[in-house]
Amino acid sequence: MTNSAKGESSRGNAKIRCRNYRRKILDISQKVSALHIAPAFSCTEIVDAIYNEVMRIGSQPETDDIFLMSKGHGCMIQYVILEERGVLSSQDLELYCKPAGRLGAHPDYGIPGIAASTGSLGHGLGIAVGQAYAEYLKGTSLRLFCVLSDGELQEGSTWEAMLMAGNLKLNNLVAVVDNNDFTGLERMSTGHPAFYPLIEKGQAFGWDVEEVNGHDSLELVTALKKLSDKPRLIIARTVKGKGVGFMESEPIWHYRSPSGTEYEQAIRELESDLS
């Protein structure tokens, strides 16, 4: 198989996986009133690429690569991938947000596969910097992947973490920004135009920055695998609510669960996109 044929095949596999993940999240959405569906759909390909194509996970948890979901509200995609990998159980997903279960709408440290308790924005990257520095001190070769929302870059604490990662030249740290251009309330480029450009901001803080299409698995994997002597910042251009037309770039889907009719329409759209 040629490289480009391999690439197309891998892209196709990722597409099927991501369709299934989105479908599973939609299924779960019918059991709860709210689950941050659009923020999970915007980073579906990102989290899929990290777990299924890039992370080195073996039998020794202390030397496995680390995934840290800084945008905690996007954790549904992490949950369904962890369930597929057998780290979480199907019962865990069944009992999502129920008193008898252990999974909530934000990740909780101590649950298998969860590297940090997030949910309040602007915490994850700082913790990731500490984890990455600890691994540097310990002399391990593991890499740490941290997924941030673009809204988190409005938190001053994220820039404190960006500065320290640059100062410490943490080349084992990869941060991926899910740049869907939306915060809870509004479009970033309209409401906060000074937010851009991002590439230059990242570079100025000592990071090796690359921008990719955040729904193109091949572009993501290529960028995620690249090594550098600096921390890597991947700005992934995404669409909030990606995969379901009526959810895309519509702020209400930041939090809401679809009704029964909306659910059926969403499933039809997902199926037709793959055909």
Binding site: H123, G130, A134, E160
Partner: protein, 304 residues
């Protein structure tokens, strides 16, 4: 206290490569400078950035290290408060936050530097442990405990420098989570902690001199509070005095609530910082006097 902390930290850090110090542009000289030059990678200065100081400490602890985060008490606890709460306490990680200048010991720097409600705030966070040593020796004991514990986050509230020894003749040994008698007495018992213990000892001597035998019991661990130890004080003395260099929503309220809960009949008098910002500048004692915490004022209240 600062210097004793630095000496003990250097000894511990030399023996245990998991121990790291993260500072936010404030660092003690002496032994810490030596630690920095000998183990440069385990001394991290985040600069004037307290949120990343706490965030990094959390991440390092999750990966097996034993970080201490060190700066002036107000900046260690207030500025990065949500990192303290979420990253350290919610995740229950063995990180020690060292707050220097607890209380109002930065007496000429204004209220931005006064940690006058730090203990009350820290007490209200689940999983948080709070230790406020009264002298260099308790500081040494507490630092050793912090470096080896597996309990969770600790707020280690220290003074500055030059605090006298108050515990070399103590009756009880220092123990995490336990009150400690440092001076015997039979009529009155003073419960106190931190730098102001010096005034408590002075006050107890004045009370002894007028025939009211006064015990001094320190409460070096404010959380978890030694309820049994305090209940025993409440049942053994007819008069109990609480002195704290903090607003009253800390030890004072805890002891009074405990007295109510256990049906104690002893008389309780308390002296704490007022619920007011301090706008005067002077010595540490000047500021304490302004809030009714001078030995003279307290003695006049108690002698009658």
């Amino acid at each position: 206290m600062r210097n004793r902390f630095a000496e003990v930290f250097y000894e511990l850090g030399s023996q245990d490569s998991r121990i790291c110090l993260i500072v936010a542009d404030i660092s003690p000289a002496g032994s810490i400078a030596k630690f920095r030059s000998e183990y440069p990678e385990r001394f991290i200065n985040t600069g004037v950035s307290e949120q990343i100081m706490i965030g990094m400490a959390a991440g390092m602890a999750q990966r097996g290290l034993r970080p201490f985060a060190y700066t002036i008490a107000t900046f260690a606890l207030y500025r990065p408060f949500e990192m303290v709460r979420d990253d350290l306490c919610y995740q229950n990680l063995p990180v020690t936050i060292v707050g220097i200048g607890g209380g109002v010991s930065y007496s000429t720097l204004g209220a931005t530097h006064h940690a006058q409600e730090d203990v009350a705030i820290a007490m209200s966070i689940p999983n948080m442990n709070i230790i406020a040593p009264c002298d260099p020796s308790e500081t040494a004991e507490a630092t050793k405990w912090c470096a080896t514990q597996n309990v969770g986050p600790v707020y280690l509230r220290l003074g500055k420098a030059g605090e006298p020894d108050l515990t070399s003749q103590a009756i009880d040994p220092w123990q995490f989570g336990k009150v400690r008698r440092i001076k015997r007495g039979t009529d009155v018992c003073i419960l106190t902690y931190g730098v102001i213990t010096k005034s408590a000892v002075e006050l107890s001597n004045r009370l002894d001199a007028i025939g009211r035998s006064c015990c001094v019991t320190t409460v070096p661990t404010l959380k978890p509070l030694d309820r049994e130890g305090i209940a025993s004080v409440l049942s053994s003395f007819s008069d109990v005095v609480i002195i704290e260099e903090c607003v009253s929503r800390a030890l004072t309220m805890e002891v009074k609530a405990l007295a109510f809960d256990c049906g104690s009949r002893c008389a309780i008098k308390s002296f704490s910082l007022k619920d007011e910002f301090i706008h005067i500048y002077g010595t540490h004692d000047d500021l304490l006097s302004a809030h009714g915490l001078s030995v003279e004022t307290m003695f006049n209240v108690l002698k009658s």
